[in-house]
């Protein structure tokens, strides 16, 4: 044990003989680890947030597609869908979009008869109602850009050219902005009028499938019943968001591939050969009685010290970036942007996943790169090494 500690002593002293070089390597290495770990954890946190929220989305959404465009779905199909074995509730949905010229934002209009009380910031309004021109629940984003409070009116141009101006009966909480920021929930009858969805039709249907293992069978039966429908399963919804955040993370990987390549060149340079001074030093160590294994242990210790310090410094920098600054560097690309953008923060967590991702990246290549040239120098004759 004492022998190993002395070799470690010597390794640290060797590193400190060229402090600038060591500092540069540790700094670049730490920055690289911090960038990669930040990105991996930040994208992972978005995956988890989307998956956690959309886990209770409908098992299947049935749409009608004609000529590549969505068409209203006849309501009478709901009764037929209910007869499929394994199908629970079938809920026709009325929803669509409305462009809001003053804010240049596109709002999502959603027909419903009630919303959960827990998700409302302001509960003293009348909620959803068809009385006196109707009332609606709006997301925090709309309330902010339109300066809306409970009782204010939000005008819409209806499909028939008329005007609807429901009063605001409540505002969603800012915590739910990731789901509700641009959402206007209206009584279904009013939503029909504004969006021009005829009676007897709906935008699409949410289909509950009682046994998750039967979702694919239900989808197959739906497609056999009507050739013009498209069924979107919850699994596909979750895969879409997985792909979106992976895609956005990939853009960052592309950006940081330059520094990764530069660092790879540094490691390759180290792997392809030792400097004349380093070969001489190895020769001297061999001449004074060090064995090849001890020289190798010395070089491995040098690599391990640099890797361990860089790995931990990089992890700390990544966590500070994520916890204190909410991933500010990556946020614009990973979270995206739009006119009405919800303020939301995800909670990245450093766990075994993050550490396991960066160990192969940070520790193994550098230690290997330290060992290969040391082995080549250690196996040659000490006299030749000192004269080189």
């Amino acid at each position: 044990m004492r022998r190993h500690l002395r070799i470690l002593d010597h390794a640290i002293a060797t590193l400190l003989q060229s402090p600038i070089k060591t500092l540069v390597v540790v700094s670049v290495y730490s920055l690289l680890v911090a960038t990669v770990v930040s990105l991996v954890l930040y994208v992972d946190a978005h995956h988890r947030e989307a998956a956690a929220l959309l886990r209770s989305a409908p098992e299947v959404v049935v749409q009608r597609i004609r000529g590549g465009r969505h068409e209203p779905l006849p309501l009478d199909r709901a009764a037929t869908i209910r007869t499929i074995r394994g199908v629970g509730e079938v809920t026709p949905r009325v929803w669509g979009y409305s462009y809001d010229p003053p804010t240049r934002a596109t709002l999502t209009l959603w027909g419903a008869e009630s919303v959960p009380e827990e998700t409302l910031e302001i509960r003293d309004g009348e909620g959803l109602s068809n009385e006196a021109g109707g009332s609606c629940i709006v997301g925090q984003g709309i309330a902010d850009v339109r300066f809306l409070g409970v009782g204010d009116r939000l005008p819409f141009k209806c499909a028939d050219g008329g005007l609807a101006a429901p009063s605001v009966g409540g505002v969603f909480t800012s915590e739910s902005a990731m789901l509700t920021n641009d959402l206007v929930v209206l009584p279904t009858a009013l939503a029909r009028r504004i969006l021009g969805v005829e009676p007897g039709f709906c935008t699409d249907m949410a289909v509950q499938v009682l046994n998750p293992n039967e979702i694919d069978t239900v989808v197959r039966k739906l497609n056999e019943l009507w050739p013009d429908i498209r069924a979107v399963t919850r699994r596909q919804v979750l895969q879409t968001y997985g792909a979106v955040f992976d895609w956005r993370g990939g853009i960052w990987i592309l950006v940081i591939s330059g520094p990764i390549a530069a660092f790879s060149i540094l490691v390759w340079d180290k792997a392809t050969g030792l400097s004349a001074e380093e070969v001489q030093a190895v020769g001297i160590l061999k001449a004074i009685g060090w064995k090849t294994t001890e020289v190798m242990e010395l070089k491995a210790a040098e690599g391990a010290v640099v890797s361990a310090v860089s790995l931990l410094t990089g992890l700390i920098a990544a966590e500070i970036h994520l916890v204190a600054f909410n991933g500010a560097v990556f946020a614009p690309v990973i979270k995206g942007w739009s006119v009405l953008y919800p303020p939301f923060d995800v909670s990245p967590q450093l766990g075994a996943y993050g550490v396991l991702v960066c160990i192969p990246l940070a520790v193994l290549p550098y230690v290997a790169a330290s060992l290969l040239p040391a082995w080549r120098a250690a196996v040659i004759d000490p006299d030749t090494a000192m004269r080189s």
Partner: protein
């Protein structure tokens, strides 16, 4: 010289131990924050299931950005044939994944 080197090793090991402690502390803070958000998440899940929401209100520029999971693959080109993608948020939405189709699935 040997005692100085021994001191250096102790300093480096102490530095590494300190870094491990700070990293673990920050990891705990992250875990605590994630656990705290669980309480509001239950209400949000209720909202998703009651309204039947399928998408996040992140990118509202176009229908295929606002509801990427419900859009058909060629929505971005629905405005006119061979239309260029013109929303920055849309440019960040990837092309569809090619996966094994569900037998008999529609368009």
């Amino acid at each position: 010289m040997r005692s100085r080197q021994g001191l250096l090793t102790r300093v480096v090991l102490a530095f590494l131990a300190g870094e491990i402690a700070i990293a673990a502390g920050l990891a705990l803070v992250g875990t605590f924050r994630a656990a705290r958000s669980q309480t509001t998440r239950a209400a949000h899940r209720l909202l998703v299931s009651e309204l039947g929401l399928t998408d996040l209100a992140l990118w509202s520029d176009a229908s295929y950005c606002r509801h990427p999971s419900l859009s058909v693959f060629f929505s971005a080109h629905a405005d006119h044939p061979s239309a260029m993608e013109h929303f920055p948020a849309g440019a960040m939405v990837p092309p569809p994944r090619i996966e094994e189709p569900i037998r008999g699935s529609g368009p």
